[in-house]
Amino acid sequence: MTDVTTQAAQTPSLSRFLKAHVRDYALLISLLAIMIFFQITTDGTLFKPVNMTNLILQNSYIVIMALGMLLIIVAGHIDLSVGSVAGFIGAVAAVMMVNWKVDPFLAGIACLALGAVIGGAQGYFVAYYKIPAFIVTLAGMLVFKGLALTVLGGASVGPFPKVFQLLSSGYVPDIFNFTLNGQPFNLLALVIGIVVTGLIIFFNYRTRQNQQKHGLAEEPDVIFYGRNILIAVALIGFSWLMASYKGLPNVLIVMFALIALFVFLTTRTTFGRRVYAMGGNEKAAKLSGINTERLTFLIFVIMGALAALAGLIFAARLNVATPKAGLGFELDVIAACFIGGAATTGGVGKVVGAVIGAFIMGVMNNGMSIMGIGIDWQQVIKGAVLMLAVFLDVYYKNKG
C-alpha cells in the first residue's frame, strides 16, 4: 500500500498540484488583479513609469521592515515598536548630520548600529525574561516615540546633506547615454533587469533539473514554464518602465538585495530552519538542542537594524526628520506579513509572501490616492482587505 501512495504523490498532476498550492499562487494573482483593477480605474496612471518609481520609493521602507517582521512573526512574536524606532533613528540621523555635522556615511553606520542595539534591548527582555513581545515592544513604541520628540526638541530638523539624500532620491547612473524616441532611456536599468531575470530563471531551471534527477519535481511542466515566463515578463517589463523614467532607484537595489538575502536565510540556512522550528514548537526546538533564547534575541537585533535602515530611508526621502515620522508604520508592516500568509501562531510564513503583501497594501494606497478616494475610506478598505485575506487563509486551512 505504501508503494501505491508513494507513486501517486510523485506523479505530477495539474489539478492535484493546483489544489495543494492554491494559496501560493492566490497571493500573486491577487496582486496582479489589484494592479490591473487600478490600472483601469486610474486611466492607466498606475503603470506610468513615474508612478511605478514612486510606488517603489513609497513602499521600500515597509518592505524592508516586513522582512524582519516576518522572522519575528514566524518565531511566534510580534514587534509593535518598529514605526517608533524608525522615526527615532531618523531623528537621531538628522541631529547627527545636520546639527553636529557628522559625516553622513559614519552617521548612517552609527544609526544602523543603534537600531540593532535597540532591537537587542527589547529582544533581551523577550528572550531571557520571557516577557511577552507584545508588552515589551508596546513599551518600546511609547519610549521611542517620546525619545524622537526629545531628540528633535519638538521641531523638524533638516535638510540633510546631498550625499544622504541620494539614499532615497538617487538613481543608479546610466553609463550608455542612450535615447529612445527622443527621450532619455536608461539602458543600464534594462540590462540589469535582463541579467537578473536570466539569473533567476537559470537558478529555477537548475533546481528543477536537480529535482527531476531525484524524482522530486512535483510542479507540472505547464506551471513551471508559465511561472518563469510570467517572472520574465514582469521583471523585464518593470525594468523597461524604470528605464524610461530615471533608471533604477538606489533604494530598489538595496531592497532587492535584502529580499534575496532574506529568502536565502529563511529557506536555505540552518538559522532559518531553526527559526521556523522554534515558531512551530518552541519546547520541542529547545529540547532538540536549539538555543531558543539566543535565536529570539538575534531576530530582534535584525529587526532593530532593519527598522533603523527604514528610518534612514524615510528621513532621506522626506529630506527632513519630523517627530511624527514612522507613525503607524508598524501596522502596515504587520498587515503585510499576515496578508502574505504568515500565521499568528508562528512557524508559518514566507518572505516572498510578506513582500507581496506589502505591495498589495502599497498598490492599494497608491491607486486609491490617484482615484481621489479620501484617507478615511482608504483605511476602511485596507482594513477590510486585511480581514478578508486572513479569513480566506483560515477558511481554506480548515477545509483542508
Binding site: 505504501t2 501512495t5 508513494t6 501517486a8 504523490a9 510523485q10 536537480n210 531525484h214 522530486l216 536555505r268 540556512t269 540552518t270 538559522f271 530552519r273 531553526r274 521556523y276 522550528a277 512551530g280 514548537n281 519546547k283 520541542a284 526546538a285 529547545k286 529540547l287 532538540s288 538542542g289 536549539i290 538555543n291 512557524g347 508559518v348
Partner: protein
C-alpha cells in the same frame, strides 16, 4: 563485567518552582556499552525528572552531582552541551516536546543535527532528503512521503520520527522515556527491535517505562525508582513484577 560508559553519581535535583522540595535524592547509576537499562517505577516516581535534569538541566534547579562518560567528567549543563557529550533524550510527550507537528517528517528528522546535513550553515536539501528517506526505511515509518506533516501520522509513526531524530544526532547514550506510550502493538514490537539493534550497535540505552512486562522483556538490568530515590537494582533475569512492586512497597515502609 563490561566497562560502564555512562555514570551518574550523587545526583540531586530540586523542584523548579518550589526550591525546598527535593525531587531527586542521591541517585547513582551506570550503563555499560551495549546494555539496555530499564528504570521502573510508579507514576510520579521522578523518572522523567531524573532524565530531563541529566539532559542539559532541562528540569529542576540546584542540581548537584556528577556525570561521567567513559570515566571522564562530562559537561551536561546545557542541552547543546549534553548533546555534544553524546547524550540524547527522547521525550515521553512527543506532541509537546518531541515534534514540530506542523512541519513534515524530513524537517523533524534533522532538527537535532542540522549541521549533519549542512555545510557552513547552508542546508543541503538533497542530502537531508536522503537522510530522511534512510530513516524512513530503517525504522519502517509508514507515510505517503517524507513530506507528510507529522501531525497526520499515527502515534507509532510519530514516535519513530522522534527516534529517527535522536538517532541522526549520533548519540552514545540514549534515554528513551516511555517509548511505547499510546501506540499499537505492531509499532511497539518494531520499537523493541530498534532498541535491541541500538544495543547491538554498542550504544548505552536507558529505557523508562511504566509497563513492567515491557521492561522485563527488553532490559538487561533494571533499577527501581520510588519517590526520587533508586530503591533497588536487579538483573532482568532475576526480576519479576512482584519483586519490583515489593521493592517499591518496602521503600514506603522505610
Amino acid at each position: 563485567m563490561l566497562d560502564p560508559i555512562f555514570e551518574v553519581k550523587n545526583w540531586n535535583v530540586f523542584h523548579p518552582l518550589h526550591a525546598d522540595r527535593q525531587m531527586i535524592k542521591d541517585v547513582n547509576f551506570h550503563v555499560c556499552k551495549g546494555e539496555v537499562v530499564g528504570i521502573a517505577g510508579l507514576m510520579g516516581a521522578g523518572r522523567t525528572e531524573l532524565a530531563m535534569s541529566i539532559f542539559g538541566r532541562a528540569y529542576g534547579q540546584k542540581i548537584s552531582g556528577e556525570v561521567l562518560l567513559h570515566g571522564k567528567p562530562a559537561d551536561v549543563s546545557t542541552i547543546p552541551k549534553a548533546m555534544d557529550a553524546g547524550l540524547a533524550y527522547a521525550t515521553e510527550d512527543r506532541k509537546t516536546y518531541g515534534l514540530v507537528l506542523i512541519d513534515h517528517i524530513k524537517h523533524n528528522v534533522t532538527l537535532a543535527n542540522l549541521e549533519g546535513v549542512a555545510a557552513k550553515g547552508v542546508v543541503d536539501d538533497l542530502e537531508e532528503l536522503s537522510v530522511a528517506n534512510k530513516y524512513r526505511k530503517d525504522l519502517a515509518i509508514r507515510c505517503s512521503s517524507v513530506f507528510q506533516t507529522t501531525v497526520n501520522l499515527s502515534g507509532g509513526n510519530q514516535q519513530k520520527v522522534v527516534l529517527a531524530k535522536w538517532l541522526f544526532s549520533g548519540p552514545e547514550v540514549l534515554i528513551l522515556d516511555e517509548p511505547t506510550r499510546g501506540i499499537d502493538v505492531g509499532a511497539k514490537y518494531e520499537i523493541y527491535g530498534i532498541i535491541n539493534e541500538l544495543a547491538e550497535a554498542g550504544k548505552a540505552v536507558i529505557v523508562i517505562s511504566s509497563e513492567m512486562p515491557e521492561l522485563l522483556g527488553i532490559s538487561d538490568r533494571i533499577y527501581v525508582m520510588n519517590d526520587g530515590r533508586f530503591v533497588a537494582e536487579m538483573p532482568a533475569k532475576e526480576a519479576s513484577q512482584e519483586k519490583i512492586m515489593r521493592a517499591i512497597m518496602k521503600s514506603w515502609e522505610d
